[in-house]
């Protein structure tokens, strides 16, 4: 959200265990309904293959959050 305030579109990436807290913070900071890319929890013990899958998942969600749909 700090990025958004300096004019840079931003996507926060978090695991499913942290969504509630992030939504509260966004509301507290004046951005109700701010969206995040949510990936499965946890990442600390994920294998490299699992991390790649999570990265793809995050990017797929981010496509809709960061880019204007053509047309």
């Amino acid at each position: 959200m700090s990025g958004e305030r300096v004019g840079t579109p931003a996507v926060g990436i978090m695991t499913s265990a942290f969504v509630d807290g992030a939504e509260l913070m966004a509301t507290a900071l004046g951005v109700r309904g701010y969206a995040f890319a949510v990936i499965s929890h946890p990442i600390s013990s994920a294998s490299d293959a699992e991390l790649e899958t999570k990265a793809r998942d995050a990017l797929e969600q981010a496509r809709h959050l960061l880019l204007i749909a053509p047309g």
Binding site: S2, G3, E4, R5, V6, G7, T8, P9, A10, V11, G12, I13, M14, T15, A17, F18, G21, A22, T27, A28, L29, G30, V31, R32, Y34, A37, I39, H41, P42, I43, S44, S45, A46, D48, L51, E52, K54, A55, R56, A58, L59, A62, L66, L67, I68, P70
Partner: protein, 92 residues
């Protein structure tokens, strides 16, 4: 009847409009601000590679916060102002 006072804060920050989104990131510089928690390095390495290979991003800049429990330093936010878009994470 008794009159009691509301103990809550009750006032959220002034709302602001989100900046405009780009149509494409081909040729753009994209930034990542990592909180540096366990496994974020390989996670963001995959993210950066996918951005370059599949989104046509020209450059991915990776920065790591000095304290994952605190907001990003002012210097990182100032640098973020020069990126087309950015990613931040991972809340875990």
């Amino acid at each position: 009847m008794v009159t009691v006072l509301d103990p809550s804060f009750g006032e959220d920050a002034d709302a602001f409009d989100l900046p405009d989104r780009p149509v494409s990131l081909v040729g753009a510089t994209v930034g990542i601000i990592s909180n540096g928690k366990a496994n974020t390095r390989p996670f963001f390495a995959h993210l950066a590679r996918l951005l370059r290979e599949e989104w046509g991003v020209a450059e991915v800049v990776l920065r790591t916060k000095s304290n994952y429990s605190a907001p990003a330093e002012r210097s990182l936010i100032d640098e973020a102002a020069h990126w087309a878009v950015m990613f931040a994470g991972v809340g875990d």
